[in-house]
Symmetry: C2
Subunit: 351 residues, 2 copies
């Protein structure tokens, strides 16, 4: 089959790779990928900021149709349209039971070999072997979905669940004032999440016209283009002189986290989901003096799919609109380039 | 009147200072101190780790009787027995309304001059001028309390409210497993707080026999004397292999915060109230990977007094037992020495 392979800095190729086959555990499924995509976090190795051993299969977001199942699989069936979270999990261990399936004691990652699970294909390919299919996959009810819904369903594999995790971690509730730092796909999904959790004011920090527009359509009540001290001053001024109740940090740089921490009101909370690549360290003294809490991390999206799926299916939320470019799998290199150069918010790949 | 004055490293003296007088705002009260005490945080300047300008009036925890009130004071009356939080607040500003009275927009600190409020005496003295008396002071219902209750009431000025803040910030609830790092007065009060919030298991990290004993009487179900990696391994082993739901950090060193962060289970929370003197910085990447949140800080104890006071008055909780030494004000130097050398958990000063 064809799949995307990272060969080095800015060197992404689509190549022939072995077809996936069911393992011997009886717990696997083989899924034919209907749609995959490129994640902001895929850009770290693409840009050479992290340096995994190459060649490396890549991609961790996909939806598709179950083509084969092992003898022990009971929760998904041939022909099911399924959503895969960006990790594998058994959905039964103590961490999964605590809502932390992303820390599953038996979990694994796409495009990687995991002891006990074997190699799981990257998502940017034609097919994927799914270990622990019962725990990992979530079938979409009602058979094959309307193609127009596929992008929205695909966001449940990562970005919509991650934006939701930011809002949950930040403690957004009815009436909260919320600022969102980051106007990428996750930041935009965090706006959707904050709105559905009842935020009364949602301030999107963005300088890009197209993203500002989508932010407002998703529920942002205000746009603040300023950053750093200026941005903080604007947020404080807009929120009673003290700052928003919650700041959702969806970037992952030292600057964005610093802005988030210094923007929140005393006793407020930062919900963070930006991958803090190579740092930053958080100033405990500032947090102590202001009682601003920090909570978040790699999102346990598997557990959020059930909550968000009905709203995607009935159109109440439209996170699929973050995909502003769709390319065939064979043009994966163009997809990465568009994400890298920020000419696209998020690119969907259709094999 | 007589009051404690810091003159330099390990140089505490009790001296004659001016009697406090009501200011012109009409909002002050003068309180005769019935009991004050020495706080762990008083040891920072005492030890020369922080270096305020000296001579400096010191002490920030007191209970007493109202002797004079300004013309605009309506919430406290002559003769009231009152608890003062470790800061002054108006109890009406937006931060106070958000439950963050310690960040009151008009607040001040004991033993310090604040613009608009003037000089407020330190608590370790015979009398204290209280700015914004209506906002700051909480009268104890029922007139003069039984002397046996005074130590417990005094803890509501700081350590009991601070321990409670750790537990609230850590999100302790019915059934939580909780570890408490730090066996000082605040850590011991955090045990009381965790118990009353419904924790099913409370593990006290302590190596001192007397403190271990009090910890158990306060509600600790287990004692772990190990620290660092060994302590973390013990906690994980005791809590389902993954660690406690909540860790209450009541010390404030790099080591204690590190232990707290690495002990909590994935998705757990650190509630921190140890003053992070000169640091530490928190590792965002570790927090991201484990989804362990960090929340806490300088405790808004004013808002907790109403909740905790009835339980002190009827004996359901006995935080006053953290005082294991009572000295007259004139022996303040001995009190500091006992705290510094850890021969006492907490010392009460009775003028």
């Amino acid at each position: 089959m064809r799949a995307t392979v990272l060969h080095g800095e800015r060197d992404i190729r689509v190549e022939d790779v072995p077809d996936p086959v069911l393992g011997t555990s009886g717990l696997d499924a083989i899924v034919r990928v209907v749609a995959a995509c490129v994640c902001g976090s895929d850009l770290w190795p693409y840009r050479g900021i992290t340096r995994p051993a190459v060649p490396k299969r890549i991609g961790h977001e996909f939806v598709g149709v179950v083509e084969e199942v092992g003898s022990e699989v009971t929760q998904v069936a041939l022909g099911d349209f399924v959503i895969a979270p960006f990790y594998q999990c058994d959905n039964t261990c103590v961490n999964c039971a605590n809502g932390m399936s992303v820390s599953c004691l038996n979990g694994g990652w796409w495009g990687s070999e995991t002891e006990g699970l074997g190699f799981a294909d990257g998502a940017q390919g034609e097919r994927v072997r799914v270990p622990m299919a019962d725990g990992t996959l979530v079938p979409v009810p009602g058979g094959q979905p309307d193609p127009a819904l596929v992008p929205g369903l695909l966001t449940l594999a990562d970005v919509m669940g991650t934006g939701h995790h930011a809002a949950v971690s930040g403690g957004v509730r009815e009436g909260s004032t919320v600022a969102v730092v980051g106007d990428g796909a996750v930041g935009l999904c965090a706006i959707i999440a904050a709105k559905r959790l009842g935020a009364s004011r949602i301030i999107a920090m963005s300088r890009h016209a197209a993203r500002q527009e989508l932010a407002v359509e998703f529920g942002a009540t205000d746009i603040v283009p300023e950053r750093g001290d200026e941005g903080i001053a604007r947020l404080k001024e807009m929120c009673g002189g003290i700052g928003p109740d919650v700041v959702l940090e969806c970037v992952g740089t030292k600057e964005s986290m610093d802005q988030a921490l210094r923007s929140a009101r005393p006793g407020g909370q930062v919900g963070f989901v930006g991958v803090p690549n190579g740092g930053p360290e958080l100033p405990a003294r500032t947090m102590f003096d202001t009682n601003v809490g920090v909570r978040g991390g790699v999102a346990p999206v598997r557990g959020y799919i059930e909550e968000l799926l009905p709203e995607v299916l009935d159109g109440r939320i439209e996170p699929g609109r973050v995909f502003d470019l769709v390319l065939p799998l064979e043009q994966a290199a163009d997809a990465y380039r568009a994400m890298d150069e920020r000419t696209a918010i998020k690119v969907m790949l259709a094999p």
